[in-house]
């Protein structure tokens, strides 16, 4: 897993600082994205797929969070459900992620980029086929 950056520092009233690991932001963003109906899941690419097959759950997959002094820029890679209006789903993901991260962390989300990397087809129940060959 990539290094867990702890770049964000918020100093309210000089009483001390609050810093967030970028993984935290990534997890919040990822969950906010998957909440939207029409989102089948986050796309982590091939490495994430293999890691998951080996049993390690990756909660930050598909999300890149860049934290600045007071703001955050997010990039999400999602997989949508077939049949959904993709641009609508992507737009809702943008809005929900921005809102959720801003509410939960107090960070200002400058930009939320969404990449749709795939479509998930519902699994159709296959009928039992009689073997034609003997």
């Amino acid at each position: 897993m990539a290094e867990n950056q702890t770049n964000y520092i918020n100093k309210p009233d000089g009483k001390g600082s609050i810093s967030y690991a970028s993984d935290v932001i990534a997890i919040i963003a990822g969950l906010a994205a998957t909440e939207i109906s029409g989102v089948a899941g986050m796309s982590g690419g091939i490495t994430a797929g293999i890691a998951e097959m080996l049993g390690r759950k990756n909660l930050t997959k598909g999300v890149k969070a860049e934290l600045g002094a007071e703001e955050a820029a997010l990039e999400l890679n999602i997989i949508v459900e077939y049949g959904s209006a993709i641009q609508e789903v992507a737009k809702k993901v943008q809005e929900n992620v921005k809102k959720t991260v801003e509410n939960m962390t107090g960070l200002r989300v400058v930009e939320t980029n969404v990449n749709v990397l795939g479509v998930n087809f519902p699994v159709e129940p296959k009928q039992q086929q009689q073997p034609r060959l003997r």
């Binding site: 209006a85 992507a90 737009k91 980029n113 990449n115 749709v116």
Partner: protein, 177 residues
Amino acid sequence: MKATERVLVVFFALIMIVVSVGMVLSAWNMITPNDVADFMETVNGNILFAVLATVIALMLFLYSIRVMFVSTKKPTLSAALIKVSETGSIRISIDTVNTLAVKFARGVENVRDVRINTLMAEQGVDVYIRAAMTPDANVPEVSQNLQNAIKTGIEEHTGLFVKNVPVYVDNSVDTSK
């Protein structure tokens, strides 16, 4: 692949074919040093040949340099398309658009099977369709239906503008993909 790149690739390949054939022929003594000497004699001082050779060498040189640089570039996200709003940008991978196009195409009546290639165009995509139809199909009509289905399907589901939908009807389409 851009047009110029394509031309260079074909060109490069041709040169390699000539070189490899030449190597085999000389290795098995079908081209003797005498032949080569004769060739060089007729060709030396021939302006046309000189110009031609320079042009070819230049193209090879440029292409080799380009090949070296391309291989060191980071592989980009497999061709994504962009729509921008104030909240951020929304991209859709070409793969996704292609998968959707195939799904829409298969739903069209009288279409037996399709192979689709989606390419980025300015302000949208071009969807190249290679379709196999059922024997009773009215080809112009089904092609039109195919084009409409894909254009409306993609535009409605993704908001992406479909610029061209060229259809090539070939009843030997094999979807090994």
